[in-house]
């Protein structure tokens, strides 16, 4: 049963975090370089952090980076860890965490479909939610959904006055 | 010649009467189930409206086998009506009608099977394979019962078996052989495909089974077939175990009682999986039927 401080010492000793922060009670966020994130995942998994809630992706358009956040939880310490890393937006390539958590394959497939991030080693990245979608991955910040909708669909005209203007 | 016309007229009367009564029973069953589920439920004459609407709709055919299957199912069932005494109405009552009825019922379900295979929908073929395996399940105890009855009363015509129970209601088979009547009741529920033995039309597993591809008039014909089947099986049960009746009204009343019991019994049970259903049939009902048969023989 570690508390937040002991956990932080463990992380500082074993992994080279760029930034560590206790956000709230039972919530810790750790920032790492992309190259040693997968190694950190397997390290934490062996230290009772077996539950991978989900993998989130945030598109920082101005800084030209995708931020991948891995949410782990331990059934002993009852602490949430959000492992963050930033990868370049242009190539948008990252390794898969499939070997550590097989379920990550579907979270990565989801991120690939909505952000276009390539996960090396995960061969099952084809379309799942959308159906024959030829445009920009929709969750990127530079995809404007209102402009897309205006030219894709016409609006119902209530005797002359359009619904949106 | 006159006798032929009389027979044909009598037969038409029986068919119309059986269909109307069958649909009425289905309406009553829906009402009972609705009451058990704390709601009003459709009006009792709803099945008549369903059939009328279904015959009014367009329907897509899947080829000749599909059409012929529906016709054969309905025809096989109507043919069975020849040999079942409904109270005082009786067309043919020679020896061997018991076995003939069992055979003709099988013809009807085989007709439906052929129709569904014509429809080519995998869910329909699963449904019909379940229906046939279930038929295998309940035929065994039923045949054992029939043979023991035939052996007991030395006659194999339904009319003869019914006459054997005449006199006071004490010597109905229900009281003479209560265990056999109980087994026959469970088999009756299996034959009619009511819950808990309705794995073949399980909507949540295979989308209403064999009838998945039949809309419009095909579904109407299958609905008529179902209603006549209900009347046939109830009539068989009443003749064999409740001593038939001298007039049609008390006969229908007895059928109604058995039908209400079967509906209530069914509405509180989830459905068996098909192999559990068949296993159940071969375990308890078959065992009791064999015991009863031994009791009669010795």
């Amino acid at each position: 049963m570690r508390n937040e401080k002991e956990l932080l010492e463990l992380i500082n000793v074993h992994l080279e975090p760029q930034a560590v922060e206790i956000k709230r009670e039972q919530n810790v966020s750790v920032e790492l370089a992309p190259k040693n994130l997968i190694q950190a995942l397997s390290f934490l998994k062996s230290h009772s952090y077996q539950h991978l809630s989900t993998i989130s992706c945030v598109d920082w358009l101005e800084e030209g980076a995708f931020e991948l956040v891995y949410h782990l939880f331990s059934y002993d310490d009852y602490i949430n860890i959000s492992l963050k890393t930033r990868i370049k937006r242009e190539p948008g390539i990252f390794q898969t965490a499939k070997e550590i958590w097989p379920v990550a394959e579907f979270y990565e497939r989801d991120i690939h479909e909505f952000f276009g991030v390539e996960f090396k080693g995960n061969d099952n990245l084809e379309e799942m939610i959308l159906e024959n979608w030829q445009h920009l991955p929709p969750m990127r910040k530079d995809f404007d959904t209102r402009e897309f909708v205006n030219d894709q669909y016409e609006w119902r005209d209530y005797n002359g006055q359009k619904h949106t203007d | 010649m006159i006798d032929l016309i009389y027979k044909i007229g009598h037969f038409l009367l029986i068919t119309v009467f059986a269909t109307a009564l069958g649909l009425l029973f289905m309406g009553i069953a829906r009402k009972i189930i609705a009451r058990i589920q704390k709601r009003y439920g459709p009006p009792v004459y709803q099945p008549y409206l369903d059939v009328l609407k279904l015959f009014g709709k367009d329907a897509i055919t899947h080829g000749f086998i599909f059409d012929f299957g529906a016709v054969m199912a309905l025809g096989g069932v109507i043919a069975t009506l020849f040999f079942i005494p409904l109270g005082s109405w009786q067309l043919y009552s020679m020896e061997g009608t018991v076995l003939l009825v069992i055979y003709l019922l099988a013809v009807a379900s085989l007709g439906m099977a052929m129709g569904t295979v014509g429809s080519g929908n995998p869910q329909a073929s699963i449904g019909i394979s379940r229906a046939l395996t279930q038929m295998l399940g309940y035929e065994l105890p039923f045949l054992v019962i029939l043979f023991s009855l035939i052996f007991r009363y030395q006659t194999s015509s339904i009319w003869g078996l019914m006459q054997a129970q005449a006199g006071s209601f004490l010597n109905w088979n229900l009281f003479a052989y209560p265990m056999m009547a109980l087994v026959a009741f469970v088999v009756l529920i299996g034959m009619m495909g009511k819950k808990p033995f309705d794995a073949m039309i399980a909507p949540s597993e295979i989308g209403s089974g064999p009838v998945v591809e039949s809309g419009g008039k095909y579904l109407g014909m299958l609905l008529l077939q179902k209603s006549i089947t209900i009347i046939i099986e109830l009539a068989l049960y009443v003749n064999l175990f409740l001593g038939g009746a001298d007039n049609i009204f008390s006969f229908s009343f007895k059928m109604l009682i058995v039908w209400i019991l079967a509906t209530m019994f069914g509405s509180l049970f989830p459905r068996f999986r098909i192999e559990d259903g068949v296993k159940f049939f071969w375990k308890w009902p078959l065992g009791i039927a064999i015991l009863q048969a031994l009791y009669i023989i010795i």
Binding site: R24, S53, F73, N80, V103 | Q37, R271
Partner: protein
């Protein structure tokens, strides 16, 4: 297994046995499923994109529509996320009212899923009774929030309005009625019914290791003897002031999960009674100024609570603007609906596919978003 004997079935979106608008494409041989694939995405509306286009307060109307069975869970997690990033204190009475709403939502969710499971195996009477019981709870919701299903009641900073005292009495009367009349009926017709037990026992088994590996929580874990409940592990709202047990069973099959649903409801009734008994007075909403100008500093937070199917979490990021920068929804049945179907459905009989899907509580809008 050569391909010729295998047929493919679309246990498709239009099917009474499937929970919601979601399809499973499975191949079967004889009567056993050999391989299965989830056909999800039918309910995708791009929630996360829409949320980035709307102000903070406007999202409270959009958020409950993510998962239809449990709208209050979404409202609560959204509000908790907002308060976590902005370090906003919620008055104690609002915490109590939030817990009451969440527990009422849990009961209506469980009774509805028990009805759905019963319909899956053909026991329609229980479905009718279950939906009827759920309707009485929706009436209570209507009194408190004005709407049956989508309440838009839990907001960042508290709740929309207070609950009067006679509504509390109505809730208590309903709890007594549930405990003394509704649940005993259910107990007799379903839980003491040998057929139902035979249909559910040993079916759709997910072991403890598989569940932890997959990230599935809630009844799937608690059916394997693991008493994990976020209300105890990471107490939120007013759950640290109430005592309740976490029911667990041993062999992790559909039968145990449905019994857990029943025991959870009984616990929820106990919680609601304790909450109503010692609810403090005071305001129900901290003043955050004009709703249209809600603003919280730059930051991010992953908040999660215990829905009836397990951990339900949001990862929310704010860049200090008037609108959320990013909201990622993690539904409770996400691992099961996508990964679980491919890994654990093969091997079950065709008759048990609806049992598998419904007893694991797969709710497609959660992973379609």
């Amino acid at each position: 297994m050569d391909k010729s004997t295998q047929t493919e079935i679309f246990f498709g979106p239009n099917h009474p046995g499937v929970p919601g608008n979601y399809g499973i494409i499975y191949e079967f041989e004889g009567d056993t499923v050999t391989s299965a694939k989830a056909n999800a995405g039918h309910l995708h509306r791009g929630f996360e994109k829409l949320m980035e286009e709307r102000l903070w307060i406007k999202n409270t109307a959009l958020v409950p529509r993510i998962c239809v069975e449990e709208p209050d869970i979404n409202e609560m997690v959204y509000a908790m996320g907002f308060e976590a990033i902005g370090e906003i204190e919620v008055p104690r009475r609002a915490d109590y009212i939030r817990s009451i709403i969440l527990e009422l939502a849990r009961i209506q969710g469980h009774i509805f899923s028990i009805g759905g499971n019963a319909a899956g195996i053909g026991q329609y009477t229980v479905m009718h009774w279950g939906t009827l019981t759920r309707d009485y709870i929706l009436d209570i919701f209507e009194e408190i929030t004005g709407a049956r299903v989508y309440h838009i009641y839990i907001r960042p900073g508290g709740v929309r309005q207070d609950i009067e005292d006679e509504t509390f009495d109505k809730i208590l009367d309903l709890m007594d009625e549930l405990e003394n009349e509704r649940f005993p009926d259910l107990e007799k017709t379903l839980f003491e019914n040998p057929n139902a037990q035979k249909r559910w026992q040993g079916k759709a088994v997910i072991t403890k290791e598989e569940a932890v590996e997959m990230g599935a929580t809630g009844p799937v874990l608690r059916a394997n003897g693991v008493p994990h409940d976020l209300r105890k592990m990471m107490p939120y709202a007013a759950y640290d002031d109430v005592e309740f047990e976490v029911p667990t069973y041993e062999n992790g099959d559909a039968w145990d999960r449905i019994k857990i649903a029943r025991d959870d409801m009984l616990q929820s009734i106990k919680i609601i009674r304790q909450l109503i008994q010692n609810i403090p007075d005071g305001p129900v909403q901290t003043d955050l100024g004009n709703g249209l100008k809600y603003k919280i500093p730059k930051g991010d937070a992953y908040v999660k609570i215990e829905s009836k199917r397990g951990e339900y979490g949001y990862y929310m990021v704010s860049d200090g603007g008037l609108k959320p920068y990013r909201v990622h929804v993690r539904g409770a049945s996400t691992p099961l609906g996508l990964y679980g179907v491919r890994e654990f459905l093969p091997g079950t009989r065709i008759a048990d596919v609806p049992v598998w899907a419904k007893s694991l509580g797969i709710c497609p809008p959660e992973f379609d978003r």
